[in-house]
């Protein structure tokens, strides 16, 4: 199957000799949902930010739809969308104006803008509240708007850091279903989450990262079987503990 993302030995040192991530290698196929899980400070966000071309890699490379993050970051950015954890939106804009503004950056022509905004309006389900200023939105509403923004241009790869943080159970479920549906339509996802239930429900494959290194990859079922665990949470605990012992 066609690979949308190929990460090859990716590493990042903020200070010489101190690795935030090291030798991270994995890939994501078209229509696949890949989740990175790991404890705080494990290197998830650094890896994600590096793939999103926000940070410069100090080792290795990653190809997004065949474009290198090292040599063609502009091309990479045309193929991805990125939703950071705790991201904000422009508070002085209305929700609709924000979607229009972001659509104008991703769109190639005026029709694209209309299509993207219509899709965004549909995904966020904010109805009439889209005409209100974002400053009046709750955290959950802002998160839904940001998710809609990330998904509406139908990128090759959507990178979502904690996609459902701040959402209530029903809204989180709705978002997970949307992600699954879009993946079925061919969009690929790189997720990061602390919510193991979410990861188990939504991901096709999982990568466990700790101390900057990718320790395990596989489907949730494969990993549960390999570590003789009852669920992904136990797998995560065992992998991290083994790593600490080593």
């Amino acid at each position: 199957m066609e690979k949308v993302l190929e990460v090859k030995g990716l590493g990042k040192q903020y200070v010489k000799g101190v690795y935030a991530s090291r030798d991270v290698t994995f890939d994501i196929k078209k229509g696949e949902i890949f989740a990175l899980i790991g404890p705080n400070g494990a290197g998830k966000t650094t890896t994600i930010r590096t793939i999103a071309t926000l940070l410069k890699t100090t080792e290795g490379d990653a190809l997004v739809s065949g474009h290198s993050i090292l040599t063609e970051p502009e091309k990479v950015r045309e193929c991805i969308t990125y939703l950071p954890d705790e991201a904000g939106a422009y508070k002085n804009m209305t929700g609709r104006a924000y979607l229009e503004f972001m659509a104008s950056i991703y769109a190639k022509d005026g029709q694209d803008v209309i299509d993207y905004v219509n899709r965004g309006v549909e995904i966020c389900e904010l109805g009439e509240r889209l005409n209100d200023k974002i400053s009046s939105y709750s955290r959950g509403m802002t998160r839904k708007l940001l998710l809609a923004r990330a998904i509406m241009p139908k990128p090759d790869l959507a990178i979502l850091d904690e996609p459902t943080s701040g959402l209530d159970i029903l809204n989180a479920l709705e978002i997970r279903r949307t992600i699954k549906k879009l993946a079925a339509d061919g969009m690929s996802f790189l997720l990061s989450s602390h919510n193991m239930l979410e990861i188990e429900f939504v991901s096709d494959r999982v990568g466990i990262i700790a101390k900057g290194m990718l320790l395990e990859t596989g489907t949730p079922e494969e990993l549960v079987a390999k570590y003789e665990a009852r669920n992904l949470e136990e797998v995560f605990e065992k992998v991290v503990k083994i790593r600490e012992v080593l």
């Binding site: 950071p84 904000g88 422009y90």
Partner: protein
């Protein structure tokens, strides 16, 4: 108790290292400016009793007047110096005798004052080198004129007392024995106009440029600093920079919009100020055409070319402010630190702004002058005056320095904006208690 706990917590929040640093900075700046003013004032006060005089009449009467004048000066801790003026090219003559001002008793003075009992004219020639308030404290002719008038009165009195008679014409003459004719020299040009009149006209005109520049720099800096720091603080920067748009485009759009808004604000400010100033000058009934011509003849009205050059310096200053604000905006960790980070720009704008209004920067002590010249905005505050007083070397030097300073600032701003530093650099603000996720 509850109030006290809350009060203590709020005080601790507000009285942080940045606030203290700001207060220390303001005090230091005000003390420095105060010292400069004090030096200028005491220097001017010291010289206010000094008179430089040229006696072109050379009669016993004028000699007696000068003798009386000398006694007056010495009684007031001043001095009197007699010089020789060889021609009416006063610009050249003042340079030759190395003086800033001279009181001239013209030929025929005695004939009018003593023999015909008429009001006689004396001439006060003064060279202007700056339009700053303090630099012209001693440039008024009133002290010299009043002292001279008293000396003439005394001499006539003494003569009449010796002769023991006084006609009604002589009594009338004593009410107003001397008339003042003032000549002002600027560079190589001279014009029959009082320097104090020039000062009052130019003060209203020249006040606008520094105020506009100050407002422009502050508005533009604040806008770009807010634009960048808000993106960081509100966590919208990562979203924007991961979108298919180059960082250079983001930077250019922000810079240009800040410059446009600042220019609009400056235009409004300029319009309002000019209306205010024209209201003020029309109220005092100044014959503007006559004085405009005098200013033009002295080179104190800017030509179109000079306006362009001053405009270029203004533009450079705004770009420098924008690029510094960009760097500072990246450093902001929260809204409070963003405000504090504006302080270096505020202080480095306030210093030349205040100094250029009240003191002749080019006449400051060399160490202080070096500090002021090192502030890139100083050169724009001095630009109008440098253009008017033909200080070409200072003007060109300032322009080159600003261009180099701008290039360095842009290079630093770009290197930060194009690298990881835009996400990793920060200064001040509350330390993040949460551990970094990655």
């Amino acid at each position: 108790m509850k109030f006290f706990s809350l009060f203590k917590k709020e005080l601790r929040d507000m009285l942080n290292a940045q606030t203290i640093l700001t207060m220390v900075g303001i005090v230091a700046m005000l003390v420095i400016i105060g010292n400069i003013f004090s030096d200028s004032i005491s220097e001017s006060a010291k010289k206010s009793g000094d008179i430089v005089i040229c006696d072109m009449d050379g009669t016993d009467f004028t000699k007696s007047v000068i003798k009386a004048l000398k006694e007056d000066c010495e009684a007031n801790d001043g001095s009197l110096e007699e010089v020789e003026i060889k021609s009416e090219d006063y610009a050249k003559e003042l340079k030759r005798i190395d003086q800033k001002q001279v009181l001239i008793i013209p030929k025929g003075f005695t004939e009018l004052a003593k023999e015909k009992h008429q009001t006689a004219k004396i001439r006060f020639v003064q060279r202007m080198t700056s339009l700053a308030m303090m630099s012209n404290l001693n440039t008024g002719s009133s002290t010299a004129f009043e002292t001279f008038k008293n000396a003439v009165k005394n001499t006539i009195y003494q003569d009449k007392l010796a002769e023991d008679k006084m006609t009604p014409e002589e009594v009338k003459q004593l009410e107003d024995p001397v008339e003042l004719e003032e000549i002002t020299v600027v560079g190589n040009k001279q014009e029959e106009i009082s320097s104090s009149v020039i000062m009052s006209i130019c003060a209203t005109q020249n006040m606008i440029v520094p105020i506009i520049l100050f407002v422009l720099i502050m508005f533009a800096s604040q806008m770009i600093l807010n634009a960048i720091s808000t993106e960081k603080i509100d966590k919208t920067l990562e979203t924007l920079l991961s979108a298919p748009i180059s960082r250079m485009t983001v930077l250019a759009a922000k810079t240009l919009s800040a410059a446009v808004v600042a220019l609009l604000q400056a235009a409004c400010f300029m319009f309002g100020s000019s209306r205010m100033m024209s209201g003020m000058t029309s109220g005092i009934g100044v014959d503007s055409d006559k004085f405009d011509q005098a200013l033009k003849n002295l080179g104190l009205s800017l030509s179109a070319g000079q306006y362009v050059l001053v405009g270029v310096q203004m533009f450079l200053s705004i770009l420098i402010a924008l690029s510094i604000a960009m760097i500072l905006g990246v450093l902001a960790k929260d809204a409070k630190s963003a405000q504090t980070l504006l302080m270096p720009i505020t202080i480095s704008t306030m210093i030349p702004y205040c100094l250029s209004m009240v003191s002749d920067i080019s006449a400051l002590p060399i160490a202080l002058r070096a500090v002021v010249y090192a502030i890139p905005f100083s050169h724009t505050f001095m630009a109008t005056e440098n253009a008017m007083f033909q200080n070409t070397a200072v003007y060109i030097g300032g322009l080159i320095y600003q261009a180099v300073f701008l290039a360095v600032c842009i290079k630093i701003a770009l290197s930060i904006f194009m690298s990881d530093k835009i996400f990793t650099m920060s200064i001040g603000g509350k330390k993040d208690k949460k551990k970094k996720k990655a």
